[in-house]
């Protein structure tokens, strides 16, 4: 009995200690800042492209009506301020303001406020245009959510640059952010951990979902993606002569996705898992015409890259551009 009691006591203590260490140790916000810079740019680009057919997707005579969007989601919690906008003039005004806010967010200006706006904008557009969305939007959405939680403007941001030079000291801290005071941060760690866990769940269901399909078992799924004319951006049909290679790529894709949740955490296997993410997602980007989706998945995978490595890679360039003091 003592052994069982001792086991459960040790289990409880180890769980609590592990939980605290996982979530509540402060971390350098460099990784979060880099994800903001790159992910914010992707979110900005996503919404910039809506401009090319704004009326077609969001206007009063859009191909997806407001009523359809509301009924599609079937929940009043699938909110969007775009449901209230009917006039083209107002829609354009609100859209341009949204683009300005997203550009500021990507650049890391007034990030405390613009990160919240970026989340609101991202969700509002998605809830207004069901049926026109795909994986890019799903990842944009999760990044916008978590970048709102941590000090995403504490690194690689205009907030940070201006704070170090004292240029915006006349602006209240709640608006300009606390870039100059944030070193290591608990909320930065929480935000990064949430991205990490969310990506594990994304890949787990992406992989196990594929196991329901025969073509992922018989090795022909990758051929189906390469030979899909509407997706194709690079002709890879020469692979028709290499069926075993196609089988291998198919099986590797599933194995990587299904094992991601387990193998991305250990120190020794993480670099291998993240390294494999690069050809997989660049393949999607270049061969399947989904540059944005391929890139945003790589951006989200950055959550598993340590702040130290991010700083080591970026410091020489930042010092050259005098955006960072020498020896920092």
């Amino acid at each position: 009995m003592n052994t069982i009691t001792a086991y459960f006591r040790e289990l409880r203590q180890a769980s609590v200690a592990g939980w605290n260490k996982f979530w509540f140790l402060p971390t350098d916000p460099a990784t979060l800042g880099m994800i903001r810079l790159l992910g914010g740019t992707m979110i900005f680009y996503t919404h910039l492209i809506w401009s090319l057919d704004l009326m077609g997707f969001f206007g009063p005579k859009a191909r997806i009506t407001s009523d359809f969007a509301k009924e599609f989601y079937g929940s009043s919690f699938a909110w969007s301020y775009l449901h209230w906008i009917e006039s083209p003039g107002m829609l354009w005004t609100v859209h341009i303001l949204a683009l300005i806010a997203l550009a500021m967010f990507a650049a890391g200006l007034f990030t405390r406020v613009t990160s919240v706006l970026a989340f609101i904008i991202t969700v509002a557009y998605m809830h207004r245009a069901p049926g026109a969305l795909f994986g890019l939007d799903q990842i944009n959405s999760l990044l916008a959510l978590y970048l709102m939680i941590g000090p995403a403007g504490a690194a690689f941001s205009l907030d940070n640059i201006f704070a170090r030079r004292g240029w915006l000291n006349f602006i209240p801290v709640w608006l300009r952010g606390d870039a100059e005071t944030v070193g290591e941060s608990v909320t930065a760690n929480i935000a990064i951990r949430m991205i990490q866990l969310h990506m594990c769940i994304v890949y787990l269901f992406a992989g196990t979902g594929k196991l329901l399909g025969g073509s992922w078992w018989d090795g022909t799924a990758m051929w189906q993606t390469f030979a899909n004319y509407e997706y194709q951006s690079l002709d890879m049909t020469w692979l028709a002569g290499f069926p075993l290679l196609l089988n291998f790529m198919t099986h590797l894709t599933v194995a990587w996705e299904v094992s991601y949740i387990a193998l991305v955490w250990p120190r020794l296997t993480r670099p291998l898992v993240i390294a494999l993410a690069i050809p997989l997602h660049l393949g999607i980007a270049f061969c399947m015409g989904m540059m944005t989706f391929g890139l945003v998945m790589l951006i989200a995978n950055l959550a598993f890259v340590s702040p130290a490595l991010i700083r080591a890679v970026t410091s020489p360039l930042l010092m050259k551009l005098r955006l960072m003091p020498a020896g920092a």
Partner: protein, 238 residues
């Protein structure tokens, strides 16, 4: 007894300090935040778990415990079944538009020549895919027609099959209404963009050739790979 009590006291003192150490936040704050973190991460899991079929009744019931509303509110209610279960065939919409002067405009969407850059093309591609998905439903067949020996089934089974038929019929009508609510605005938009008065639409399924067919010289755009079904005719609304 006194020795046991003293031992317990000593044990308490040597327990690792869960609330002290390198944590800037107090134990109370960490505890409260931990509740939110646990619920949120579980909600992230519930979305794809209860998502596209197959999904269990348990997952639906769990999602109804407030998770669905939360997932919608923060917009993480997604299945993440990328190219799953199958990469599948792609779908387009072919349209024929008639202008007031009788001239005809033919086209398809998505169309790389009309929609650029690629992200804009992909938006139209997704709309075409959704139209196909929503208009695929066939009306349910009456049990009497499905099962030749239906009359010989036990009464309880006949009742079950009839109730199922009624339910499927209602679902079909709802799907058909929702498809109409999508098709009509799409057709109107096409007519606005091309200054047309009448629009006829077809859903086009583009099959994928096998590696052997491609090695044998078949092009990805071979006409034999396309199959159409009509979606209807629409008139311009004012």
């Amino acid at each position: 007894m006194a020795k046991q009590s003293a031992e317990k006291q000593a044990e308490k003192k040597t327990e690792p300090a869960e609330t002290a150490g390198p944590y800037p936040w107090s134990a109370k704050l960490r505890g409260v935040v931990s509740i939110f973190l646990t619920l949120h991460v579980f909600a992230v899991f519930v979305a794809p778990w209860s998502g596209p079929p197959p999904a269990s009744e348990l997952s639906f019931e769990v999602s109804r415990l407030g998770f669905r509303e939360y997932l919608h509110a923060v917009n993480i209610n997604h299945g993440y079944r990328f190219f799953a279960p199958e990469p599948g065939r792609s779908h387009l919409i072919r349209y024929e538009l008639q202008r007031a002067d009788g001239s005809i405009v033919n086209g398809t969407f998505p169309d790389l020549e009309e929609q650029w850059p690629r992200l804009l093309y992909h938006r139209h591609f997704m709309v075409a895919e959704m139209i196909n998905q929503m208009t695929m439903a066939e009306p349910p067949r009456e049990p009497r027609l499905q099962f030749p020996n239906f009359d010989a089934f036990p009464p309880a089974e006949r009742r079950r099959l009839n109730n199922e038929f009624i339910r499927l019929g209602r679902d079909y009508e709802a799907a058909r209404r929702q498809a109409e609510e999508l098709l009509s605005p799409v057709a109107q938009r096409l007519m606005i963009e091309h200054d047309a008065q009448v629009a006829r639409l077809w859903a086009v399924e583009h099959a994928i050739p096998t590696p052997e067919e491609v090695e044998g010289g078949m092009e990805l755009t071979d006409p034999r790979l396309y199959r159409e079904r009509p979606l209807g005719e629409f008139r311009r609304q004012s």
